[in-house]
Amino acid sequence: MPLPTATPSGTAAVRGTAAHEPGPRRIRRRRGPARAGLAHFAGFGAPGVLVYACFVLAPIAVSFAYSLTNANPFNPPTRYVGVHNYWMLLRDEQFLTALRVTTILTLIVVIVPNVLGLLVALLLDRSGKFYNAMRSVFFTPMILSSVVVSVVWTRLLDTDGPLNQALRALGVHHPPDWLSDPDYALYSVASIISWQMLGFCVVVYLAGLQGVPVELQEAAAIDGAGAFHRFRAVTWPLLAPALTINTVVLLISAFKTYDYIKVITNGGPGAGTTATIAFNVLQTGFDANHVGYASAMAIAMLVIVCVTTAVALRILRGREIDL
Protein backbone atom coordinates (compact mmCIF):
# COMPACT_ATOMS: atom_id res chain seq x y z
CA MET A 1 0.00 0.00 0.00
CA PRO A 2 1.16 3.48 -0.75
CA LEU A 3 0.86 4.94 2.71
CA PRO A 4 1.97 2.65 5.51
CA THR A 5 3.44 5.57 7.39
CA ALA A 6 0.11 7.32 7.78
CA THR A 7 -1.24 4.66 10.12
CA PRO A 8 -0.08 6.02 13.50
CA SER A 9 -1.74 9.39 13.03
CA GLY A 10 -4.84 7.66 11.80
CA THR A 11 -5.13 5.52 14.88
CA ALA A 12 -4.60 8.57 17.04
CA ALA A 13 -7.40 10.50 15.40
CA VAL A 14 -9.91 7.68 15.17
CA ARG A 15 -9.17 6.37 18.62
CA GLY A 16 -11.72 8.72 20.15
CA THR A 17 -14.62 7.11 18.36
CA ALA A 18 -13.37 3.56 18.47
CA ALA A 19 -12.86 3.57 22.21
CA HIS A 20 -16.51 4.22 22.94
CA GLU A 21 -17.71 0.95 21.52
CA PRO A 22 -18.11 -1.76 24.06
CA GLY A 23 -17.19 -5.19 22.77
CA PRO A 24 -20.52 -7.06 22.89
CA ARG A 25 -22.45 -4.30 21.20
CA ARG A 26 -20.05 -4.26 18.32
CA ILE A 27 -20.44 -7.96 17.78
CA ARG A 28 -24.21 -7.61 17.80
CA ARG A 29 -24.01 -4.88 15.19
CA ARG A 30 -21.68 -6.82 12.98
CA ARG A 31 -23.97 -9.85 13.10
CA GLY A 32 -26.46 -7.75 11.12
CA PRO A 33 -26.72 -9.04 7.56
CA ALA A 34 -23.37 -8.59 5.88
CA ARG A 35 -25.17 -7.93 2.64
CA ALA A 36 -26.80 -4.81 4.11
CA GLY A 37 -23.32 -3.44 4.85
CA LEU A 38 -22.26 -4.15 1.31
CA ALA A 39 -25.35 -2.44 -0.08
CA HIS A 40 -24.68 0.55 2.15
CA PHE A 41 -21.15 0.75 0.81
CA ALA A 42 -22.21 0.28 -2.79
CA GLY A 43 -24.82 3.01 -2.53
CA PHE A 44 -23.10 5.49 -0.26
CA GLY A 45 -19.38 4.85 -0.03
CA ALA A 46 -18.46 3.55 -3.45
CA PRO A 47 -18.95 6.68 -5.63
CA GLY A 48 -16.65 8.81 -3.48
CA VAL A 49 -14.13 6.05 -2.94
CA LEU A 50 -13.99 5.39 -6.67
CA VAL A 51 -13.11 9.01 -7.49
CA TYR A 52 -10.60 9.10 -4.64
CA ALA A 53 -9.02 5.86 -5.86
CA CYS A 54 -8.75 7.08 -9.47
CA PHE A 55 -7.48 10.59 -8.80
CA VAL A 56 -5.46 10.23 -5.59
CA LEU A 57 -4.52 6.63 -4.82
CA ALA A 58 -3.80 5.53 -8.38
CA PRO A 59 -1.56 8.55 -9.10
CA ILE A 60 0.40 7.86 -5.91
CA ALA A 61 0.92 4.27 -7.03
CA VAL A 62 1.98 5.51 -10.47
CA SER A 63 4.28 8.04 -8.85
CA PHE A 64 5.91 5.28 -6.81
CA ALA A 65 6.30 3.14 -9.92
CA TYR A 66 7.90 6.08 -11.79
CA SER A 67 10.27 6.66 -8.90
CA LEU A 68 11.86 3.24 -9.57
CA THR A 69 12.60 4.13 -13.20
CA ASN A 70 14.56 6.68 -15.19
CA ALA A 71 11.35 7.92 -16.85
CA ASN A 72 11.82 10.98 -19.05
CA PRO A 73 9.30 11.60 -21.84
CA PHE A 74 11.97 13.15 -24.04
CA ASN A 75 14.62 10.55 -23.42
CA PRO A 76 13.19 7.04 -23.91
CA PRO A 77 13.44 4.15 -23.31
CA THR A 78 12.31 4.01 -19.70
CA ARG A 79 14.22 1.43 -17.67
CA TYR A 80 13.73 0.01 -14.19
CA VAL A 81 16.50 1.37 -11.98
CA GLY A 82 15.45 0.13 -8.54
CA VAL A 83 16.12 2.47 -5.66
CA HIS A 84 18.81 4.32 -7.60
CA ASN A 85 16.80 7.57 -7.60
CA TYR A 86 16.44 7.46 -3.84
CA TRP A 87 20.20 6.96 -3.43
CA MET A 88 20.78 9.90 -5.74
CA LEU A 89 18.52 12.07 -3.58
CA LEU A 90 20.71 11.53 -0.54
CA ARG A 91 23.74 12.81 -2.44
CA ASP A 92 21.97 15.54 -4.41
CA GLU A 93 23.16 18.93 -3.18
CA GLN A 94 20.07 20.59 -4.65
CA PHE A 95 17.69 18.24 -2.82
CA LEU A 96 19.52 18.64 0.48
CA THR A 97 19.35 22.43 0.10
CA ALA A 98 15.62 22.15 -0.62
CA LEU A 99 15.21 19.98 2.46
CA ARG A 100 16.97 22.61 4.56
CA VAL A 101 14.89 25.43 3.01
CA THR A 102 11.67 23.49 3.60
CA THR A 103 12.62 22.75 7.20
CA ILE A 104 13.43 26.39 8.02
CA LEU A 105 10.29 27.59 6.28
CA THR A 106 8.12 25.03 8.06
CA LEU A 107 9.56 25.86 11.46
CA ILE A 108 8.88 29.58 10.99
CA VAL A 109 5.41 29.04 9.54
CA VAL A 110 4.43 26.66 12.35
CA ILE A 111 5.79 28.77 15.20
CA VAL A 112 5.20 32.41 14.22
CA PRO A 113 1.45 32.32 13.37
CA ASN A 114 0.83 30.05 16.37
CA VAL A 115 2.47 32.44 18.83
CA LEU A 116 1.17 35.68 17.28
CA GLY A 117 -2.26 34.11 16.70
CA LEU A 118 -2.55 33.26 20.38
CA LEU A 119 -1.53 36.79 21.40
CA VAL A 120 -3.98 38.39 18.97
CA ALA A 121 -6.77 36.03 20.07
CA LEU A 122 -6.16 36.93 23.72
CA LEU A 123 -6.17 40.60 22.76
CA LEU A 124 -9.41 40.39 20.77
CA ASP A 125 -11.25 38.01 23.10
CA ARG A 126 -13.90 40.60 23.96
CA SER A 127 -17.40 41.16 22.63
CA GLY A 128 -18.73 44.22 20.83
CA LYS A 129 -18.68 45.82 17.39
CA PHE A 130 -15.19 47.21 17.79
CA TYR A 131 -13.59 43.83 18.41
CA ASN A 132 -15.73 42.17 15.75
CA ALA A 133 -14.37 44.59 13.17
CA MET A 134 -10.80 43.93 14.30
CA ARG A 135 -11.38 40.19 14.01
CA SER A 136 -12.73 40.54 10.47
CA VAL A 137 -9.50 42.26 9.44
CA PHE A 138 -7.48 39.30 10.69
CA PHE A 139 -9.79 36.79 8.99
CA THR A 140 -9.72 38.44 5.56
CA PRO A 141 -6.35 37.08 4.32
CA MET A 142 -7.76 33.56 4.74
CA ILE A 143 -10.01 34.06 1.74
CA LEU A 144 -7.33 35.63 -0.45
CA SER A 145 -5.53 33.55 -3.02
CA SER A 146 -1.88 32.89 -2.26
CA VAL A 147 -1.12 34.40 -5.68
CA VAL A 148 -2.82 37.68 -4.73
CA VAL A 149 -1.01 37.77 -1.39
CA SER A 150 2.28 37.09 -3.13
CA VAL A 151 1.81 39.89 -5.68
CA VAL A 152 0.83 42.43 -3.03
CA TRP A 153 3.74 41.59 -0.78
CA THR A 154 6.17 41.61 -3.69
CA ARG A 155 5.19 45.25 -4.26
CA LEU A 156 5.29 46.02 -0.54
CA LEU A 157 8.80 44.56 -0.07
CA ASP A 158 10.22 45.87 -3.34
CA THR A 159 13.60 47.60 -3.10
CA ASP A 160 11.86 50.94 -3.57
CA GLY A 161 8.55 49.74 -2.16
CA PRO A 162 6.50 51.26 0.64
CA LEU A 163 8.32 49.41 3.40
CA ASN A 164 11.75 50.62 2.36
CA GLN A 165 10.42 54.13 1.68
CA ALA A 166 9.14 54.15 5.25
CA LEU A 167 12.45 52.80 6.58
CA ARG A 168 14.37 55.52 4.68
CA ALA A 169 12.06 58.14 6.09
CA LEU A 170 12.91 56.79 9.54
CA GLY A 171 16.61 57.26 8.79
CA VAL A 172 17.74 53.80 7.65
CA HIS A 173 20.13 54.57 4.81
CA HIS A 174 20.45 51.15 3.20
CA PRO A 175 17.34 49.09 3.94
CA PRO A 176 17.75 45.47 2.82
CA ASP A 177 16.54 44.05 -0.48
CA TRP A 178 14.00 41.84 1.23
CA LEU A 179 13.30 39.57 -1.71
CA SER A 180 16.46 39.72 -3.82
CA ASP A 181 19.08 39.36 -1.09
CA PRO A 182 19.81 35.63 -0.54
CA ASP A 183 20.26 36.27 3.19
CA TYR A 184 16.76 37.70 3.60
CA ALA A 185 14.59 36.14 0.88
CA LEU A 186 13.64 32.93 2.68
CA TYR A 187 12.71 34.79 5.86
CA SER A 188 10.71 37.33 3.88
CA VAL A 189 8.73 34.58 2.16
CA ALA A 190 8.17 32.83 5.51
CA SER A 191 6.88 36.09 6.98
CA ILE A 192 4.47 36.55 4.08
CA ILE A 193 3.06 33.05 4.58
CA SER A 194 2.83 33.68 8.31
CA TRP A 195 0.85 36.86 7.65
CA GLN A 196 -1.72 34.94 5.64
CA MET A 197 -1.94 32.00 8.06
CA LEU A 198 -2.25 34.22 11.14
CA GLY A 199 -5.99 34.68 10.68
CA PHE A 200 -6.61 30.95 10.77
CA CYS A 201 -4.80 30.62 14.09
CA VAL A 202 -6.69 33.61 15.50
CA VAL A 203 -10.06 32.02 14.62
CA VAL A 204 -9.14 28.67 16.13
CA TYR A 205 -7.69 30.19 19.32
CA LEU A 206 -10.67 32.53 19.73
CA ALA A 207 -13.00 29.53 19.48
CA GLY A 208 -10.83 27.68 21.97
CA LEU A 209 -11.03 30.64 24.36
CA GLN A 210 -14.83 30.52 24.16
CA GLY A 211 -14.59 26.99 25.54
CA VAL A 212 -12.74 28.08 28.67
CA PRO A 213 -15.38 28.27 31.45
CA VAL A 214 -15.56 31.70 33.10
CA GLU A 215 -16.14 29.94 36.44
CA LEU A 216 -12.71 28.36 36.29
CA GLN A 217 -11.13 31.75 35.60
CA GLU A 218 -13.02 33.34 38.46
CA ALA A 219 -12.19 30.51 40.83
CA ALA A 220 -8.52 30.93 40.00
CA ALA A 221 -8.79 34.71 40.49
CA ILE A 222 -10.40 34.22 43.92
CA ASP A 223 -7.57 31.87 44.82
CA GLY A 224 -5.29 34.83 44.18
CA ALA A 225 -3.89 33.92 40.75
CA GLY A 226 -2.72 36.88 38.67
CA ALA A 227 -3.48 37.21 34.96
CA PHE A 228 -0.33 35.43 33.87
CA HIS A 229 -0.81 32.62 36.36
CA ARG A 230 -4.46 32.19 35.34
CA PHE A 231 -3.36 31.88 31.74
CA ARG A 232 -0.71 29.27 32.45
CA ALA A 233 -2.73 27.13 34.83
CA VAL A 234 -6.25 27.41 33.40
CA THR A 235 -6.44 28.83 29.87
CA TRP A 236 -3.37 27.33 28.21
CA PRO A 237 -4.06 23.66 29.11
CA LEU A 238 -7.64 24.06 27.86
CA LEU A 239 -6.35 25.48 24.56
CA ALA A 240 -4.52 22.22 23.82
CA PRO A 241 -6.99 21.08 21.10
CA ALA A 242 -6.67 24.48 19.39
CA LEU A 243 -2.88 24.17 19.45
CA THR A 244 -3.18 20.70 17.92
CA ILE A 245 -5.32 21.89 15.01
CA ASN A 246 -3.19 24.94 14.31
CA THR A 247 0.09 23.09 14.44
CA VAL A 248 -1.05 20.22 12.23
CA VAL A 249 -2.72 22.46 9.65
CA LEU A 250 0.29 24.81 9.52
CA LEU A 251 2.68 21.89 9.30
CA ILE A 252 0.90 20.28 6.37
CA SER A 253 0.42 23.52 4.46
CA ALA A 254 3.95 24.79 5.10
CA PHE A 255 5.45 21.57 3.81
CA LYS A 256 3.77 21.89 0.45
CA THR A 257 4.64 25.57 -0.05
CA TYR A 258 4.76 26.16 -3.77
CA ASP A 259 2.57 29.07 -4.88
CA TYR A 260 4.41 31.77 -2.93
CA ILE A 261 7.80 30.56 -4.12
CA LYS A 262 6.66 30.34 -7.73
CA VAL A 263 5.21 33.86 -7.74
CA ILE A 264 7.59 35.73 -5.42
CA THR A 265 11.09 34.38 -5.99
CA ASN A 266 10.85 31.48 -8.47
CA GLY A 267 13.29 29.59 -6.25
CA GLY A 268 15.95 32.31 -6.21
CA PRO A 269 17.77 34.55 -5.56
CA GLY A 270 20.95 32.62 -6.26
CA ALA A 271 21.01 28.83 -6.30
CA GLY A 272 17.74 27.63 -4.82
CA THR A 273 17.85 29.82 -1.71
CA THR A 274 14.06 29.66 -1.45
CA ALA A 275 13.34 26.48 -3.46
CA THR A 276 11.25 24.10 -1.36
CA ILE A 277 10.96 20.37 -2.07
CA ALA A 278 7.46 20.92 -3.47
CA PHE A 279 8.89 23.55 -5.82
CA ASN A 280 11.74 21.29 -6.94
CA VAL A 281 9.38 18.36 -7.57
CA LEU A 282 7.47 20.30 -10.19
CA GLN A 283 10.55 22.01 -11.64
CA THR A 284 12.29 18.65 -12.05
CA GLY A 285 9.19 16.82 -13.28
CA PHE A 286 7.67 19.32 -15.67
CA ASP A 287 10.38 21.79 -16.66
CA ALA A 288 13.35 19.43 -16.70
CA ASN A 289 11.25 16.34 -17.59
CA HIS A 290 13.10 14.05 -15.16
CA VAL A 291 9.83 12.35 -14.24
CA GLY A 292 11.43 9.35 -12.52
CA TYR A 293 13.71 11.44 -10.32
CA ALA A 294 10.97 13.98 -9.53
CA SER A 295 8.67 11.13 -8.49
CA ALA A 296 11.28 9.80 -6.08
CA MET A 297 11.50 13.32 -4.64
CA ALA A 298 7.71 13.45 -4.34
CA ILE A 299 7.50 10.09 -2.60
CA ALA A 300 10.28 11.11 -0.20
CA MET A 301 8.35 14.31 0.51
CA LEU A 302 5.16 12.34 1.15
CA VAL A 303 6.94 10.08 3.64
CA ILE A 304 8.47 13.07 5.44
CA VAL A 305 5.08 14.84 5.67
CA CYS A 306 3.28 11.75 6.97
CA VAL A 307 5.92 10.84 9.55
CA THR A 308 6.25 14.41 10.84
CA THR A 309 2.49 14.88 11.05
CA ALA A 310 2.01 11.53 12.79
CA VAL A 311 4.67 12.36 15.38
CA ALA A 312 3.28 15.87 15.93
CA LEU A 313 -0.26 14.53 16.31
CA ARG A 314 0.82 11.90 18.81
CA ILE A 315 2.66 14.43 20.97
CA LEU A 316 -0.07 17.10 20.78
CA ARG A 317 -2.97 14.71 21.38
CA GLY A 318 -1.21 13.45 24.48
CA ARG A 319 -1.41 16.93 26.00
CA GLU A 320 -5.17 17.26 25.53
CA ILE A 321 -7.45 16.87 28.51
CA ASP A 322 -11.20 16.43 28.68
CA LEU A 323 -13.21 18.78 30.84
Binding site: G16, G43, S145, G208, L302
Partner: protein, 275 residues
Amino acid sequence: MNDRIPWLRPITALSVTTMFFVPLYLVLTNVFKPGDQISAAPASLPRPPTLDNIVAVLTRPDRLFWVSLTNSVIVTTVSVLVLVVLSAMLGHYVARTRSRWARALTLVLLAGLMIPPQVILIPITDVLRAGHLMATVQGLILFNVGYYLPFGMFVFAGFIRTIPVELEEAATIDGAGRGQVFWRVVFPLLRPASASVMIFLGVWIWNDFIDPLIILGPGRGTTVTTGVYRAIGQYQSDFGSVFALMFLATLPVLAFYLALQRHFVKGLTGGATKG
Protein backbone atom coordinates in the same frame (compact mmCIF):
# COMPACT_ATOMS: atom_id res chain seq x y z
CA MET B 1 -12.65 39.43 33.69
CA ASN B 2 -12.10 43.17 33.54
CA ASP B 3 -8.96 44.85 32.38
CA ARG B 4 -7.01 46.79 34.97
CA ILE B 5 -6.13 49.60 32.54
CA PRO B 6 -9.31 49.98 30.45
CA TRP B 7 -7.86 51.92 27.48
CA LEU B 8 -4.82 49.71 27.00
CA ARG B 9 -6.61 46.84 25.24
CA PRO B 10 -8.51 48.85 22.59
CA ILE B 11 -5.43 50.96 21.77
CA THR B 12 -3.19 47.92 21.42
CA ALA B 13 -5.85 46.08 19.40
CA LEU B 14 -6.27 49.03 17.08
CA SER B 15 -2.55 49.52 16.43
CA VAL B 16 -1.85 45.82 15.91
CA THR B 17 -4.79 45.52 13.53
CA THR B 18 -3.70 48.62 11.61
CA MET B 19 -0.24 47.15 11.04
CA PHE B 20 -1.79 43.91 9.91
CA PHE B 21 -4.12 45.79 7.57
CA VAL B 22 -1.38 47.56 5.57
CA PRO B 23 -1.12 45.00 2.71
CA LEU B 24 -4.90 44.94 2.34
CA TYR B 25 -4.95 48.73 2.24
CA LEU B 26 -2.31 48.62 -0.46
CA VAL B 27 -4.61 46.61 -2.73
CA LEU B 28 -7.64 48.76 -2.04
CA THR B 29 -5.92 52.06 -2.67
CA ASN B 30 -4.01 51.00 -5.79
CA VAL B 31 -7.06 49.59 -7.53
CA PHE B 32 -8.43 53.12 -7.80
CA LYS B 33 -5.19 54.86 -8.77
CA PRO B 34 -3.71 55.59 -12.21
CA GLY B 35 -0.79 53.33 -13.12
CA ASP B 36 1.99 55.94 -12.87
CA GLN B 37 0.95 56.89 -9.34
CA ILE B 38 1.14 53.25 -8.24
CA SER B 39 4.87 53.03 -8.74
CA ALA B 40 5.55 56.60 -7.67
CA ALA B 41 3.48 56.64 -4.47
CA PRO B 42 2.15 53.15 -3.76
CA ALA B 43 0.96 53.96 -0.25
CA SER B 44 -0.84 57.25 -0.93
CA LEU B 45 -4.60 57.61 -1.08
CA PRO B 46 -6.11 57.68 -4.57
CA ARG B 47 -6.77 61.38 -5.29
CA PRO B 48 -8.99 61.54 -7.21
CA PRO B 49 -10.09 57.89 -7.27
CA THR B 50 -10.45 56.44 -10.75
CA LEU B 51 -12.26 53.41 -12.11
CA ASP B 52 -9.98 53.27 -15.17
CA ASN B 53 -8.11 50.16 -14.03
CA ILE B 54 -11.27 48.18 -13.43
CA VAL B 55 -12.84 49.30 -16.69
CA ALA B 56 -9.63 48.43 -18.55
CA VAL B 57 -9.65 44.88 -17.16
CA LEU B 58 -13.35 44.38 -17.84
CA THR B 59 -13.12 45.59 -21.45
CA ARG B 60 -9.89 43.89 -22.50
CA PRO B 61 -10.17 42.69 -26.08
CA ASP B 62 -9.12 39.11 -25.24
CA ARG B 63 -11.79 38.99 -22.51
CA LEU B 64 -9.26 37.40 -20.17
CA PHE B 65 -11.24 38.31 -17.08
CA TRP B 66 -14.59 37.06 -18.34
CA VAL B 67 -13.17 33.78 -19.63
CA SER B 68 -11.35 33.18 -16.35
CA LEU B 69 -14.40 34.12 -14.34
CA THR B 70 -16.60 31.68 -16.25
CA ASN B 71 -14.07 28.88 -15.77
CA SER B 72 -13.68 29.63 -12.08
CA VAL B 73 -17.41 29.79 -11.46
CA ILE B 74 -18.06 26.50 -13.28
CA VAL B 75 -15.15 24.65 -11.70
CA THR B 76 -15.90 25.90 -8.18
CA THR B 77 -19.67 25.43 -8.26
CA VAL B 78 -19.69 21.98 -9.81
CA SER B 79 -16.78 20.71 -7.70
CA VAL B 80 -18.32 21.95 -4.47
CA LEU B 81 -21.80 20.58 -5.19
CA VAL B 82 -20.49 17.15 -6.19
CA LEU B 83 -18.18 17.15 -3.18
CA VAL B 84 -20.99 17.97 -0.75
CA VAL B 85 -23.15 15.11 -2.06
CA LEU B 86 -20.39 12.50 -2.33
CA SER B 87 -18.63 13.33 0.92
CA ALA B 88 -21.91 13.48 2.88
CA MET B 89 -22.81 10.01 1.64
CA LEU B 90 -19.34 8.66 2.26
CA GLY B 91 -19.35 10.30 5.70
CA HIS B 92 -22.61 8.56 6.46
CA TYR B 93 -21.18 5.20 5.47
CA VAL B 94 -18.05 5.70 7.57
CA ALA B 95 -19.92 7.07 10.60
CA ARG B 96 -22.59 4.35 10.64
CA THR B 97 -20.50 1.30 9.82
CA ARG B 98 -18.35 -0.42 12.37
CA SER B 99 -16.69 -3.09 10.30
CA ARG B 100 -12.91 -3.37 10.21
CA TRP B 101 -12.99 -2.60 6.50
CA ALA B 102 -14.74 0.73 7.09
CA ARG B 103 -12.13 1.63 9.67
CA ALA B 104 -9.30 0.79 7.28
CA LEU B 105 -11.02 2.94 4.67
CA THR B 106 -11.16 5.83 7.14
CA LEU B 107 -7.41 5.58 7.63
CA VAL B 108 -6.72 5.62 3.91
CA LEU B 109 -8.92 8.69 3.54
CA LEU B 110 -7.31 10.34 6.56
CA ALA B 111 -3.95 9.96 4.89
CA GLY B 112 -5.46 11.87 1.98
CA LEU B 113 -5.63 15.00 4.14
CA MET B 114 -1.83 15.09 4.23
CA ILE B 115 -0.97 14.41 0.61
CA PRO B 116 0.70 17.40 -1.02
CA PRO B 117 -0.71 18.00 -4.52
CA GLN B 118 2.82 17.89 -5.95
CA VAL B 119 2.98 14.17 -5.20
CA ILE B 120 0.06 13.38 -7.50
CA LEU B 121 0.36 16.14 -10.09
CA ILE B 122 2.94 14.46 -12.32
CA PRO B 123 1.09 11.12 -12.63
CA ILE B 124 -2.33 12.80 -12.67
CA THR B 125 -1.50 14.24 -16.07
CA ASP B 126 -1.06 10.64 -17.31
CA VAL B 127 -4.29 9.49 -15.67
CA LEU B 128 -6.23 12.40 -17.16
CA ARG B 129 -4.63 11.97 -20.56
CA ALA B 130 -5.63 8.30 -20.54
CA GLY B 131 -9.24 9.40 -19.96
CA HIS B 132 -9.01 12.24 -22.52
CA LEU B 133 -9.65 14.67 -19.69
CA MET B 134 -6.36 16.57 -19.75
CA ALA B 135 -6.76 20.33 -20.34
CA THR B 136 -10.51 20.13 -19.74
CA VAL B 137 -12.68 21.66 -17.06
CA GLN B 138 -14.19 18.20 -16.38
CA GLY B 139 -10.74 16.82 -15.64
CA LEU B 140 -10.02 19.59 -13.15
CA ILE B 141 -13.40 19.04 -11.48
CA LEU B 142 -12.80 15.29 -11.13
CA PHE B 143 -9.36 15.95 -9.68
CA ASN B 144 -10.84 18.43 -7.19
CA VAL B 145 -13.50 15.94 -6.13
CA GLY B 146 -10.94 13.21 -5.48
CA TYR B 147 -8.43 15.49 -3.79
CA TYR B 148 -10.81 17.31 -1.43
CA LEU B 149 -13.09 14.34 -0.69
CA PRO B 150 -11.28 13.36 2.56
CA PHE B 151 -11.82 16.82 4.04
CA GLY B 152 -15.56 16.80 3.29
CA MET B 153 -15.86 13.24 4.49
CA PHE B 154 -14.31 14.02 7.87
CA VAL B 155 -16.45 17.07 8.52
CA PHE B 156 -19.62 15.15 7.62
CA ALA B 157 -18.68 11.95 9.46
CA GLY B 158 -17.93 13.92 12.63
CA PHE B 159 -21.25 15.69 12.36
CA ILE B 160 -23.28 12.56 11.56
CA ARG B 161 -21.92 10.86 14.69
CA THR B 162 -23.65 13.54 16.78
CA ILE B 163 -27.05 12.73 15.20
CA PRO B 164 -28.87 9.96 17.10
CA VAL B 165 -29.07 6.79 15.02
CA GLU B 166 -32.57 6.22 16.49
CA LEU B 167 -33.89 8.91 14.12
CA GLU B 168 -32.83 6.80 11.16
CA GLU B 169 -34.12 3.61 12.75
CA ALA B 170 -37.52 5.20 13.31
CA ALA B 171 -37.74 6.24 9.67
CA THR B 172 -36.71 2.74 8.58
CA ILE B 173 -39.46 1.22 10.71
CA ASP B 174 -41.88 3.62 9.04
CA GLY B 175 -40.89 1.98 5.79
CA ALA B 176 -38.38 4.41 4.31
CA GLY B 177 -35.55 2.94 2.22
CA ARG B 178 -31.90 3.76 2.94
CA GLY B 179 -31.77 6.47 0.32
CA GLN B 180 -34.98 8.07 1.56
CA VAL B 181 -33.77 7.97 5.16
CA PHE B 182 -30.58 9.73 4.18
CA TRP B 183 -31.96 12.40 1.88
CA ARG B 184 -35.19 13.11 3.79
CA VAL B 185 -34.07 12.71 7.41
CA VAL B 186 -30.28 12.94 7.75
CA PHE B 187 -29.19 15.32 5.01
CA PRO B 188 -31.45 18.24 6.08
CA LEU B 189 -29.94 17.98 9.56
CA LEU B 190 -26.45 18.31 8.13
CA ARG B 191 -26.95 21.91 7.07
CA PRO B 192 -24.28 23.41 9.36
CA ALA B 193 -21.76 20.83 8.20
CA SER B 194 -22.72 21.40 4.56
CA ALA B 195 -22.28 25.14 5.06
CA SER B 196 -18.77 24.81 6.43
CA VAL B 197 -17.75 22.27 3.80
CA MET B 198 -19.07 24.56 1.07
CA ILE B 199 -17.27 27.60 2.43
CA PHE B 200 -13.93 25.93 2.91
CA LEU B 201 -13.90 24.01 -0.33
CA GLY B 202 -15.37 26.97 -2.19
CA VAL B 203 -12.57 29.27 -1.03
CA TRP B 204 -9.85 26.67 -1.57
CA ILE B 205 -10.96 25.66 -5.04
CA TRP B 206 -11.56 29.27 -6.13
CA ASN B 207 -8.09 30.27 -5.00
CA ASP B 208 -6.35 27.12 -6.16
CA PHE B 209 -3.32 27.91 -8.26
CA ILE B 210 -1.08 24.99 -9.08
CA ASP B 211 -3.76 22.41 -9.93
CA PRO B 212 -5.59 24.50 -12.58
CA LEU B 213 -2.25 25.79 -13.88
CA ILE B 214 -1.09 22.26 -14.66
CA ILE B 215 -4.38 20.47 -15.43
CA LEU B 216 -5.94 23.17 -17.59
CA GLY B 217 -2.58 23.85 -19.13
CA PRO B 218 -1.34 26.90 -20.98
CA GLY B 219 -4.01 26.78 -23.70
CA ARG B 220 -7.43 28.32 -23.30
CA GLY B 221 -7.80 27.20 -19.69
CA THR B 222 -7.48 29.99 -17.18
CA THR B 223 -9.13 30.51 -13.81
CA VAL B 224 -9.12 33.89 -12.09
CA THR B 225 -6.17 32.83 -9.94
CA THR B 226 -4.02 31.58 -12.78
CA GLY B 227 -5.24 34.63 -14.70
CA VAL B 228 -3.67 36.92 -12.11
CA TYR B 229 -0.45 34.93 -12.39
CA ARG B 230 -0.41 35.28 -16.18
CA ALA B 231 -1.19 38.98 -15.91
CA ILE B 232 1.91 39.65 -13.82
CA GLY B 233 3.98 38.03 -16.53
CA GLN B 234 2.36 39.89 -19.40
CA TYR B 235 1.79 43.30 -17.86
CA GLN B 236 4.78 43.69 -15.64
CA SER B 237 4.74 47.48 -15.82
CA ASP B 238 0.96 47.91 -15.82
CA PHE B 239 0.32 47.47 -12.13
CA GLY B 240 -3.04 49.17 -12.33
CA SER B 241 -4.41 46.26 -14.33
CA VAL B 242 -2.83 43.68 -12.05
CA PHE B 243 -4.33 45.26 -8.93
CA ALA B 244 -7.73 45.64 -10.58
CA LEU B 245 -7.64 42.01 -11.72
CA MET B 246 -6.75 40.85 -8.21
CA PHE B 247 -9.54 42.94 -6.75
CA LEU B 248 -12.11 41.57 -9.21
CA ALA B 249 -10.86 38.01 -8.71
CA THR B 250 -11.38 38.35 -4.96
CA LEU B 251 -14.78 40.08 -5.03
CA PRO B 252 -16.93 36.95 -5.61
CA VAL B 253 -15.22 34.96 -2.90
CA LEU B 254 -15.39 37.95 -0.57
CA ALA B 255 -19.14 38.28 -1.12
CA PHE B 256 -19.57 34.54 -0.61
CA TYR B 257 -17.55 34.71 2.59
CA LEU B 258 -19.43 37.71 3.99
CA ALA B 259 -22.76 36.02 3.27
CA LEU B 260 -21.78 32.86 5.12
CA GLN B 261 -19.33 34.32 7.64
CA ARG B 262 -21.37 33.18 10.63
CA HIS B 263 -21.17 29.55 9.53
CA PHE B 264 -17.53 29.95 8.64
CA VAL B 265 -16.25 30.42 12.16
CA LYS B 266 -18.78 27.97 13.59
CA GLY B 267 -17.99 25.31 11.01
CA LEU B 268 -14.28 25.69 11.50
CA THR B 269 -14.47 25.17 15.22
CA GLY B 270 -17.40 22.77 15.44
CA GLY B 271 -16.00 20.19 13.08
CA ALA B 272 -12.39 20.77 13.86
CA THR B 273 -12.26 20.66 17.65
CA LYS B 274 -14.37 17.55 17.92
CA GLY B 275 -12.12 15.76 15.38
